[in-house]
């Protein structure tokens, strides 16, 4: 479609089908108005100026017929034209601009979601799978990312055979690789981003212990057992307003395997609001 002075010109042949209370399909300005009533399925060659444009109005759900060719758009009047009494002349459609307005009725064909695609991954991809895995992926992801960038190939019989052989030849290398469970990996990233406020009392004396850090983590939305928390060797005591809002480093160990460095911020709290 080429744009010329604000209006669009459609250069190719497109089918339009108008549904609803149709008396006629309004034709482009160049076509002479006649008494003829046009049938509901019309092929219109739109290489002339038209006022047909999809509006943002309400959509109705209409199935595109099985006999309609694939480039069919289903339209309906935005303002239904007045009914012509029997024996009377039809009101000319180009009488009013509003009678020539159409809106696109949602095409059911568009709303159907395609099933996922089988692909063979050529490298470890987070959230999808490991190298040489045959997985079902969302079509959009496959076509826009994985296949184009060479991270995956189609699971055709040839490819299946080829990469199966390749996997067997690389078996030793693959066994050596260290893989982290995807959910655990996400968890570690979330934990590393956090700055955990460690709320300690302003009145009573304290020394930061594992139980305090555990309670602070829970307050921040992280559940951790005490044996998974490792604090620095130098104990921090208070209340000490000199260290208020200072950051401290501590470590959390996931499943006795992964060490996650975390940051805490010392926050003095008090229920007594008289001394601020």
């Amino acid at each position: 479609m080429r744009s010329r002075g604000g209006r669009t010109m459609i250069a190719r042949r497109v089918n339009f089908r108008v549904v609803g209370s149709v008396q006629s399909l309004s034709l482009p300005i160049n076509c002479p108005w006649t008494d003829k009533y046009l049938s509901s399925v019309v092929e219109v060659e739109l290489n002339t100026l038209t006022t047909i444009r999809p509006t943002g109005g309400s959509y109705a759900f209409v199935r595109v017929g099985p006999n309609d060719p694939p480039n069919t758009w289903v339209l309906q009047h935005v303002h239904p034209p007045p009914k012509t009494a029997p024996g009377e002349h039809q009101r000319p459609p180009d009488d009013l601009q509003s009678l020539m307005k159409y809106e696109v009725v949602r095409n059911e064909r568009v709303a159907i979601k395609a099933p996922p695609l089988d692909v063979i991954l050529l490298q470890d991809i987070e959230g999808v799978g490991n190298q040489f895995d045959v997985v079902k992926v969302d079509r959009k992801l496959a076509r826009y990312d994985l296949l184009i960038t060479g991270k995956a190939v189609y699971a055709s019989p040839f490819n299946m055979k080829k990469y199966d052989e390749l996997r067997q030849s690389m078996a030793d290398e693959l066994a050596k690789r260290q893989r982290v469970d995807y959910q655990v990996l996400l968890m570690t990233r979330a934990l590393r981003k956090l700055v955990v406020p460690i709320c300690m009392s302003l009145e009573n004396k304290w020394t930061i212990a594992k139980t305090n850090v555990r309670a602070a983590l829970r307050h921040a939305g992280v559940e951790a057992p005490e044996d998974a928390i490792y604090l620095p060797p130098d104990a921090i005591s208070g209340p000490n307003l000199a260290i208020e809002a200072k950051l401290i480093r501590f470590y959390v160990v996931l499943s006795d395997q992964y060490v996650v460095p975390m940051i805490g911020r010392i926050t003095h709290v008090s229920a007594d609001s008289s001394s601020e």
């Binding site: 469970d181 959910q183 655990v184 996400l186 968890m187 979330a190 934990l191 709320c199 300690m200 009392s201 009145e203 009573n204 004396k205 304290w206 139980t211 305090n212 555990r214 309670a215 602070a216 829970r218 307050h219 939305g221 992280v222 559940e223 951790a224 057992p225 998974a228 959390v252 160990v253 996931l254 499943s255 996650v260 709290v269 008090s270 229920a271």
Partner: protein
């Protein structure tokens, strides 16, 4: 010869008098439309003269505006604005547990350390919840070891009838392990014996009433709305039924523990018991809330557990068990505090017996049948009416044919 101006000035009457027949108005121009008054100069638009139609339109617009203004009073408008901004109490922190919102989350934590928001709601026992709260409220941190424990119950308020919901109530439940709740409670004691009346008053009852006052209550000379609960001695058991309807939920019965022999103990029980309120949600009628203080953080966890069990049992009596769980989720919090822990209460919810389920199913079938019958009747009536109409149509031409 008259000039045009004189003609125009004189008007139709003058002309008619001269030589133009009265009936023909075609020959005369419409004087008003010819007089094109042009306003020139500053603020022309304001000075334009208005036609009759325009003036009428303006008058009508003004009237409409006045009516609109007078439709609601100021207070009514305030109330309307409040209603629009109304937030469902069920959405207030910590919100309602909706299984649909948790569908994409993990069932179980992936490892020993996990982020709560990535995993579905985890359920804890009362004991574990208390211990976790104690960690936060310890003297070294928030320093509130004697904090009141708050139990927040999310309720399902639907009943057998679709239009009816569980009614809002405020009741007192006696709990096995008491604590200082800090609420002012006024208890009525119905006792016949004077000595026992003194005992009741000593125990903390607001008023100790004898059988004579029952009549006054029935007449309306004594207000019972101001009191939280009523307890009665067994010797008054026969005298109080007349005021059952007036006291309603506050009426003492053996079932709710308000009727007994030791009046002092009864008063004590209800003075120290847990008062709970079941409230429906104004925006989502099927949802409800019950928020209560069930104990203190420094109480032994087992005692608190007993209190929680007691309360949940009492609350669940308000709805038919056949309809499903009354409590969507029970959450244990601390006042004041952000943390909440969902409790395991499946073992506390009442299980409907087979008989009750049968009864319920029968009633449902009955209703369905009745509805079907009604429909059929309505259809028949409709059909009969149509037949009558047709007959009426047939009747009219017959006499005409007969005459013809």
């Amino acid at each position: 010869m008259l000039s045009l101006n004189a003609l125009l000035a004189g008007g139709r009457a003058a002309l008619a008098a001269r030589w133009i027949p009265a009936a023909s108005s075609l020959l005369l121009p419409n004087v008003e439309s010819l007089q094109m008054q042009q306003v020139r100069g500053r603020k022309r638009a304001h000075k334009q003269p208005l036609s009759r139609a325009q003036k009428q339109a303006r008058r009508e617009a003004k009237l409409a505006k006045e009516l609109e203004r007078k439709k609601y009073t100021f207070m009514e408008r305030v109330r309307i604005a409040k209603m629009h901004k109304l937030q469902s109490p069920s959405h207030l922190y910590p919100g309602r547990m909706l299984p649909e919102q948790e569908e994409t989350l993990l069932e179980n934590p992936p490892c020993n350390v996990y982020v709560r928001s990535a995993v579905k709601t985890q359920y804890y026992s009362v004991r574990d919840a208390i211990l976790m709260h104690r960690e936060s409220q310890q003297p070294a941190m928030f320093n509130h070891p004697k904090a009141p424990i708050r139990l927040r119950l999310e309720l399902n308020m639907s009943t057998e009838r679709s239009t009816k919901k569980v009614a809002d109530t405020t009741e007192i439940v006696p709990v096995p392990y008491t604590f200082t709740h800090g609420q002012k409670r006024s208890i009525l004691a119905f006792v016949a014996d004077l000595k026992l009346q003194e005992e009741a008053l000593a125990a903390g009852a607001e008023f100790a009433l004898g059988p004579e006052i029952v009549k006054k209550i029935v007449k309306g000379q004594f207000r019972t709305e101001d009191f939280d609960f009523a307890v009665a001695h067994t010797d008054m058991a026969m005298a109080i039924p007349p005021i059952r309807g007036i006291l309603k939920k506050k009426f003492p019965t053996k079932l709710n523990g308000g009727l007994g022999d030791d009046i002092a103990q009864l008063v004590e029980k209800f003075k120290t018991g847990v008062q709970y309120t079941i409230k429906g949600d104004p925006i989502y009628p099927d949802w409800g809330l019950c928020d209560t203080i069930v104990g203190k953080l420094d109480m032994p966890p087992d005692e608190l557990e007993m209190n929680v069990n007691c309360l949940i049992e009492a609350v669940c009596k308000h709805r038919n068990a056949v309809l499903g769980p009354f409590i969507n989720r029970a959450v244990l919090m601390v006042v004041p505090g952000d943390e909440y822990f969902s409790l395991k209460i499946d073992h506390l919810l009442p299980v409907p017996t087979a008989e009750e389920i049968e009864k319920f199913e029968k009633q449902k079938k009955k209703k369905k049948k009745e509805k079907k019958e009604e429909k059929l009747l309505a259809e028949e009536e409709g059909a009969a009416a149509e037949v009558e109409e047709d007959e009426a149509d047939d009747v009219s031409p017959a006499p005409a044919a007969a005459t013809a």
